[in-house]
Symmetry: C2
Subunit: 230 residues, 2 copies
């Protein structure tokens, strides 16, 4: 463990490549040649490609979630929704970056990519990474939005994560569709837009609790709903 340079070179290259082209599409030869290390180094230091992916994600996500909680703790007990949302989205978008080592964009892309590919080995890993953070933010938002149920808040937190991740992954498409007028590489603009959208979304009235819904669509084709008896 004495020489961190190889390890971190591998982690850096993996973060980049996994973020750019995905986990399955990245080969160890690409990865090691970009990191300028020997092909066998990955298996020596991490054991396998899958374990490397976990290490990449852990390195990317852990400090973000810590910073989120730190900012949440710094808020007054009855903080407003905007502050809570900002505590949630600003760390991943701006990067945590104690010493400039991680570009926020890369970090977030790699998370978006790998979490989306969902190699089976990651499922439980990702859940435990987000359980605590999710719970804390759900509680804070519930305090700020007493009219919303816990499940509604969870839904909306999930939507917020999706909005962020989608934009970080597919920002180029947005830029192209708008002829560059929306520039997702402008993190400040992205941040302000996502915050305002999310604040509005959280403030919205909750949907009716599933019974008296309109549209009474005759076919609910998929939907094997366990449906809490509201």
């Amino acid at each position: 463990m004495s020489s961190p340079s190889t390890r971190t070179a591998i982690l850096d290259a993996a973060e980049r490549l996994f973020g750019d082209i995905g986990y399955a599409a990245t080969s160890m030869r690409q990865l090691t040649s970009r990191a300028k290390v020997n092909l066998a180094a990955v298996n020596y230091h991490f054991g396998s490609k899958a374990a490397l992916a976990k290490a990449v994600l852990a390195r990317a996500i852990a400090p973000i979630n810590e910073e989120r909680l730190r900012r949440l703790d710094a808020l007054p007990v009855r903080a407003d929704v905007r502050s809570i949302v900002r505590a949630f989205v600003e760390p991943p978008l701006r990067g945590v970056d104690p010493e400039g080592n991680c570009s926020a964009e890369r970090v977030c892309r790699v998370f978006g990519r790998i979490s989306v590919e969902q190699p089976p080995f990651l499922e439980t890993f990702l859940r435990q990474q987000f359980r605590e953070v999710g719970g804390r933010f759900e509680a804070a938002l519930a305090a700020a939005l007493p009219r919303l149920s816990a499940t509604t808040i969870w839904w909306r937190l999930h939507f917020l994560v999706g909005a962020m991740a989608h934009t970080l992954r597919n920002g180029r498409t947005l830029a192209a569709l708008t002829d560059g007028r929306c520039d997702p590489s402008d993190i400040d603009a992205l941040l302000e837009h996502v915050v305002s959208f999310a604040v509005g979304g959280f403030a919205a009235q909750a949907p009716l609790p599933a019974r008296t819904r309109r549209s009474a669509a005759p076919r609910r084709g998929v939907a094997r709903s366990k449906e809490i008896p509201a």
Copy 2:
């Protein structure tokens, strides 16, 4: 072209597998054995794996976008935001399904997956698939929300797509985090939640136009959180 059975068997299997485990992670041998066709059939009918992916996406997306436009056209000229949002999200979530051939969940998953992996050959393809639909909905929303700029509406449309896609891909994580209280396989519930969230998001005040933003903050160390004016 006389026998569509092989072609559609391949498309069905590909839709399923690309949606479940991703494009890069799906091998032609898996795919053809699940479709119960010969290995060479894919290259005979589609030319390559990449071309197959395009065909899968086209088959999945085109009818959804057509239905979106149909519903949008059916709205009154000055429709409210909720109706417009519903016209946008209901086709992909419920499925178009003229004759029951496509499960909405599968269709959407495959889109979420492949669009996220973004094999390079898809970039322009996806853009052209969404340019018209995006423009039409942007215009309709702009009419309903005269205080918002076009770019803000594009941002928010993008966020909405992300929220939908993320939930369809990573729904299991949400279910696990909430011990099943949020059930993303309940399409009705998902639909109502995403609509209410998006309506709130669109109704939100637009962010300040970038100039008077705070953000000049020299230190982004820990926790200086309530500096948002207002």
